[in-house]
Symmetry: C2
Subunit: 426 residues, 2 copies
């Protein structure tokens, strides 16, 4: 085992420590949704506070039925018996890697925990670059050649993992790409794990969302949860939609030996949320609007500073590329941003990216404020960018980027000899 | 991976199904504490229902400090920084097996999930019989010879797991045995994992509890939780006390990639419980008294029917031995009890016991009633055995055991030829 504390969680704890010590740090390193619990969900938790039985490993019937309805309304008829709930979609993803077995193809870059989980279950991830502008999926043709090559070397590759929309890039793979990946997965007999935890946070509800379950339902597992869309990260609730009973049974076997089930009162609140009553839909609409407005404004600051960054379509992440800056690695760049400019981001290498490519992940959801009052104000503001604490953070970022630019060498000159910036690929 | 749904959870789901189908089944197969949540804990959960941040992987500071105090009051000064909380002690045990690595020595019989978890992490358990009358620990001298032999075969044995007091036998290892095991663990450089989740349910508070942390603090991890003492199984909360920071860091690395943290509102309620206010102590006292009264009464019914069973000292389990009955395996015996006599128990083989030994595990905590009212009545009764639903269940059991005895062959004659009952060892 060669695993350290999850990079995102470690960065969060580091920044919290610095802030307690009085440092002024702009917290752009952690994917917490940064919004309060909707009162209706608190009420459901309170009403279920007497629920203390273990309950079914797959999750309470109400929750599985509600989650099935959620998918049904998205064009995916779902048998509640093929829904498995867990304490966060993270645990479900871990359980799936264990239940499916073999090696897994991951997009590069991709969320920090996928590769770490693969390592924990004794699998080796095959990292395949995402196509330009389409983060969260590995390039389909490269998947085919990579898997065939790995198999010719005796490796047992069994699955491929997608993130739609993507963390870390905030982009969304096109229907054509996902459809092609589904086709290749069928040809190569790969299971597809589709992490759709940001699906309901696509900024524009009219954006076409094409998941692999649309093209290869027989082999696609979807994972989701309420950590992002309803900001319930600390409640630990995730759901998985399984394509067939054998895999469900294997996942349940793993779940029953590792975590048993999600916390029972939380399951009841989640069951309510997944029925998607008007108040919950309205809350998600407001959240999506806020995430979109702020992440686009942050992107604008990067663009103004001459930093390339893809336009985000969902969630609250950006993946800017500082090619041309005088750093040898993304780790050095991230360290300089934190230590010299008080801006906490995560270096691209923790997402499996080439460490010499100067890309970092920027999470914008902790800009809404540190109190419930400020967060609610941001949620309900007609223009959240006018809120003084948000505009101050944006200005802090611009200053940091200007400061970083002052350290930028003339073209052709690099502070670290021998290091050539990697080409921009995403 | 060769794992099926946890035997206890599967048995529970099977019995619930049979009951819904109208079958009359005495539910003695599941280790759920069978009591309501204390109102003060519900209040704390309600007060924390707005807590939705991820929080530290190790658990909230309040909870770690309260757990440290809990151990301090039991003679084990504890650094809150060496406490790690998880969604149930089950997840912590899994994480520890992964973090420690190598193979693990287990007592035989022992809780179903230890061996299953070892299998999931790719370890092979070494099963060593418990000494007569002292379940939950492997016989110390046999541990030494087994580990030395396994190492001579190239196996990497790194840890030993104890349950104090024990599930499935309800017994408690003596201080002399635990001390000798600690000594052997030091000689062989084995980590000790001490599962003490039933510690506060020793029926007689004057019983001497000797845990390995008393004798080998430098190598002992203690796991515990509130599932049993406060009946919070469905809330998923466990705590671990680590002996040193390197192991803590490895456990946190695993935790951060699999489950992140326990549900945040639950952590706040647990923090209150671990401060052990008077109302919580009183609730645990009442629970311990009820568990003791009922498990002893159930034992009496087995003894009356001529079945050997060790006297329980803690928790709500018995491990009767039906040697002399005409069954080839404990699975056949358990199936006959369920199908012909409406009594659900778990066969000893799922606890790693010899399948031909006619031992089963009996859990008595679901006899208190199926409604909150009945459970509270049982908790507060001066004599819970006089409650009609409890005495009816005891009579159901006696009838079943009488019926089973009628099927008993004359001495020397066995229904299944060639099968010799295993000697009684526990």
């Amino acid at each position: 085992m060669n695993v350290t504390l999850s990079a995102t969680l470690a960065a969060n704890e580091d920044i919290e420590r610095r802030r307690r010590a009085g440092e002024r740090v702009l917290h752009l390193a952690f994917g917490e949704a940064g919004l309060p619990v909707h009162p209706a969900l608190r009420e459901r938790l309170v009403a279920a506070s007497g629920h203390n039985g273990y309950g079914p490993v797959a999750g309470a019937a109400e929750l599985r039925e509600a989650a099935a309805g959620y998918w049904h309304r998205r064009g995916l008829p779902t048998d509640p018996d093929l829904v498995v709930c867990g304490p966060g979609s993270k645990s479900l993803l871990y359980g799936l890697l264990l239940a499916i077995g073999g090696d897994v193809v991951l997009p590069m870059p991709s969320w920090v925990s996928y590769a770490a989980q693969a390592d924990l279950v004794g699998a080796r991830p095959l990292l395949v670059p995402a196509p330009p502008g389409e983060g969260g999926v590995p390039d389909p043709e490269q998947v085919a050649s990579t898997v065939l090559h790995a198999r010719s070397q005796g490796r047992d590759v069994r699955s491929i993992l997608l993130t739609l929309p993507d963390n870390p890039t905030g982009t969304l793979a096109s229907a054509a790409t996902v459809s092609r990946l589904a086709e290749i997965s069928r040809d190569l007999d790969l299971m597809i794990i589709s992490d759709e935890i940001y699906r309901d946070l696509l900024h524009d509800p009219a954006t076409r969302f094409a998941g692999p379950a649309e093209f290869a339902p027989e082999r696609t597992v979807i994972t989701s949860g309420l950590s992002k869309s309803l900001a319930l990260g600390g409640w630990r609730i995730g759901v998985a939609r399984l394509p067939f009973a054998v895999l469900r049974d294997r996942l349940l076997a793993v779940a029953s030996e590792i975590w048993s089930s999600p916390a029972s009162p939380v399951q009841q609140a989640a069951a309510y949320a997944y029925t998607e009553p008007a108040e919950v839909i309205e809350r998600i609409d407001l959240s999506r609007r806020l995430h979109g407005a702020v992440v686009r404004a942050v992107r604008e600051r990067f663009v103004q500073a001459g930093v390339r960054v893809d336009a985000p379509l969902g969630g609250f992440y950006l993946y800017p590329d500082f090619t041309g800056h005088a750093f040898a690695t993304s780790a050095e760049l991230a360290a300089a941003l934190l230590d010299e400019h008080g801006v906490g981001v995560l270096p691209g290498h923790v997402f499996g990216d080439d460490g010499k490519a100067l890309r970092v992940r920027v999470a914008t959801s902790l800009l809404y404020g540190e109190t419930t009052e400020r967060r609610l104000a941001a949620l309900n503001a007609s223009d959240p960018l006018e809120l003084p604490w948000i505009s101050a953070s944006l200005d802090h970022l611009s200053e940091a980027l200007t400061g970083l630019n002052r350290m930028r060498p003339a073209p052709g000159r690099h502070r670290h000899s021998g290091v050539v910036p990697a080409p921009v690929t995403g």
